[in-house]
Symmetry: C2
Subunit: 111 residues, 2 copies
């Protein structure tokens, strides 16, 4: 799961989700796995990158339009995960929706 | 260092740097610390969030303009770090420059 995403040429959209977890992790891992699965099935989904180091996590998901992000944010299971997140799992988070305008990649030939 | 950034109301810009490290880490930590210090001194710098989990890292830095990102990318010490990165430290990376159009935050009152 923790891999780099291959995305098309810009423009496209990114949802940058940064969070600080609370001490209550019960049910968190299952929810996170389920949200990953669901996101991949959403229309307009292009990829996701997610890492956590201690309490701080960054998940960046990529989408072909603002409408795709909007639809995903309103998905009924995602809504419930958001509610549980605010209630139990997160001390703080920020979601930034951004339009990717340029991208540049590097990969060694031996990969 | 691994904390959430407080950023102004959109619009502003994000540089999303995702990487997969190579096995050679020599000098990497010092460079990463130095780049963090330098970034904070750059004109137009708004904040940075950075986490690593195993080989995969995500660093998102926030800037008040595209020009600020451009200047930072051309900083002479940053250029040298980029060169060493491609030569030694990274197997692959992607840099995406994006315009943040919306942001929403959550923080518990007990913080």
């Amino acid at each position: 799961m923790a891999e780099l995403s291959i995305t098309p040429a810009p423009p496209y959209y990114a949802a940058i989700f940064t969070s600080r977890r609370a001490s209550d992790h019960e049910g968190y891992a299952d929810m996170a796995d389920r949200m990953m699965q669901l996101a991949h099935l959403q229309p307009g989904f292009l990829g996701v990158e997610s890492v956590r180091e201690g309490a701080i996590g960054i998940t960046v998901s990529y989408w072909d339009s603002l409408e795709a992000i909007e639809l995903w944010s309103r998905h009924v299971e995602h809504r419930e995960a958001q509610r549980r997140g605010r209630q139990d799992w997160y001390e703080a988070y920020e979601i930034r929706v951004a339009r990717v305008e340029r991208a540049r990649s590097f990969g060694r030939s031996e990969q």
